[in-house]
């Protein structure tokens, strides 16, 4: 299992590498794409602003590379938090278009209830769909994950959603399109549940070459 973590200053690469190491998978941090050897899995982490994220991906030659890798349909791509958002079409937070690998955009939380703060920050439950449950055995353990975000997924096609979260209203917390997966939460910071998540993800989605 050859894992590359995109390291362009978009946040917590060390945390992801630590967590993968903990569950038994070495990984490489990559500032620019490795054009000699395409990895089995590319992780796109992300903390920060949407446009900054897209700009950094462009600056370090990731934008076209990721689109090509997605087109080839072999290497898996996992986007985490802002990384998930960058995989989609765009966000109200910025003006740059996203990578467009999963359909849908991101909208800001507008809670009617003033006790709900923005960002949505903390531990929340994820309810897996039937298909999501078939891929993630962790779905049977009432998992909770750590979230920090102000914008949430909003797509027209619920078929790509593997797991739902609720904060004022329901939104897609795990989204999926063929070889591309995005999670809004931080599995690398969700202790036991995060470890299970990575194990399940690598064992079911990454081992499935179709």
């Amino acid at each position: 299992m050859n894992i590359h973590i995109i390291n362009v200053g978009l946040g917590n690469v060390a945390s992801i590498q630590n967590m993968l190491k903990r569950v038994g998978y070495p990984s490489n941090l990559r500032v620019t794409p490795d054009t000699n050897q395409i990895p089995d899995l590319i992780i796109l982490p992300g903390v920060g602003a949407y446009d900054t994220g897209m700009t950094l991906l462009g600056e370090y030659n990731w934008t076209n590379y990721l689109k090509e890798v997605a087109d080839r349909g072999i290497t898996k791509i996992l986007g985490i938090c802002l990384g998930m958002q960058l995989l989609c079409d765009g966000s109200d937070e910025g003006s740059h278009p996203g990578l467009g690998l999963i359909s849908g955009r991101f909208q800001r939380f507008k809670p009617d209830n003033s006790s709900l703060k923005v960002p949505h920050m903390g531990w929340n439950a994820v309810e897996f769909t039937e298909f999501g449950s078939s891929l993630f055995s962790i779905s049977h353990q009432m998992p909770r994950f750590y979230f920090v975000h102000s914008y949430h997924y909003s797509g027209t096609n619920d078929d790509c959603i593997l797991g739902w979260c609720n904060y004022g209203h329901r939104f897609g917390a795990i989204i999926h399109n063929k070889t591309i997966t995005g999670v809004q939460f931080h599995p690398e910071k969700s202790h036991r549940f995060g470890m299970h998540f990575f194990n399940d993800y690598i064992n079911s989605i990454c081992s499935n070459t179709g």
């Binding site: 630590n18 920060g48 531990w123 910071k189 995060g194």
Partner: protein, 253 residues
């Protein structure tokens, strides 16, 4: 639904963990890495590590120890102490830290809050508001680096910091620090008025009931130091954290 976070707040002095009493008399409580391993095993919601000397001494954050701490943390980690530049913040984030807590540098100039928030997002900046009562019993902004009251309205400063980009407020009741005598509920209520971002209340927590009271007064999350590191009337060092089920029952009732 979102659960209220319960956060151990650990104080770093040189390379050891200490716990203060009303921000004074730091008492050594152990090796930070060992303590963090224990908190990690106990699956704490989040962890906060504050270097209480860095700003006082005007020195750089201790990257070595931050890296070792972050390497043990499989939960979100907030670091505070001595951060004065975006470059320092970048370095700390790159070691595996999620949030940076600012006080001294923010009091000097809110531009740093803005710069870090622009580069790394609002969620990565916590503004630390220490509040202490003056001799007339009025809440006053306090700065931990000089141990002095600041004659700036604390709520005004907090709102300016949020406008500059702080995504979360750490509200510390200085008079309750280390006392385990209960949170300052009036202060939490005042803080939470018109507050749009999450509020972490710290200071005075001595029981699970105190955590619940702080949440009822408006805290989104509750942090505690002494409650998680001391045990019994003689304040013997013992690292504890409630089981998840206990916390779930606490907030459900």
């Amino acid at each position: 639904m979102l659960k209220h976070r319960v956060i151990p707040a650990l104080l770093l002095q040189n390379a050891g963990l200490v716990k203060t009493f009303k921000f004074k008399n730091p008492k050594y409580v152990g090796d930070p890495i060992n303590a963090i391993r224990i908190f990690n095993d106990k699956e704490v919601d989040e962890l906060m590590v504050l270097d209480i000397l860095a700003s006082k001494q005007g020195r750089e954050p201790n990257y070595n120890i931050i890296e070792r701490i972050a390497g043990e943390c499989f939960m979100p980690l907030c670091y505070g102490g001595g951060v004065r530049s975006v470059e320092q913040a970048r370095k700390i984030f790159s070691l595996g830290v999620e949030k940076i807590c600012l006080q001294s540098a923010a009091l000097a100039n809110l531009q740093l809050v803005n710069d870090i928030a622009t580069r790394f997002g609002n969620q990565s900046v916590v503004i630390s508001i220490d509040v202490k009562k003056d001799w007339l019993g009025r809440y006053q902004l306090y700065r931990a680096d000089t141990d002095k009251l600041v004659h700036t309205a604390w709520q005004g400063f907090m709102q300016q910091a949020i406008a500059a980009g702080a995504g979360e407020v750490l509200l510390n009741a200085v008079d309750r620090d280390g006392t385990m005598s209960g949170p300052d509920l009036e202060l939490i209520r005042q803080c939470n008025q018109n507050l749009q971002v999450p509020l972490i209340a710290v200071g005075g927590i001595g029981s699970l009931e105190d955590i619940k009271l702080a949440v009822s007064a408006g805290a989104s999350a509750v942090a505690a130091g002494a409650f998680f590191v001391f045990h019994g009337p003689h304040r013997a060092v013992l690292i504890t954290y409630p089981r998840y089920q206990e916390l779930e029952n606490l907030f459900d009732n």
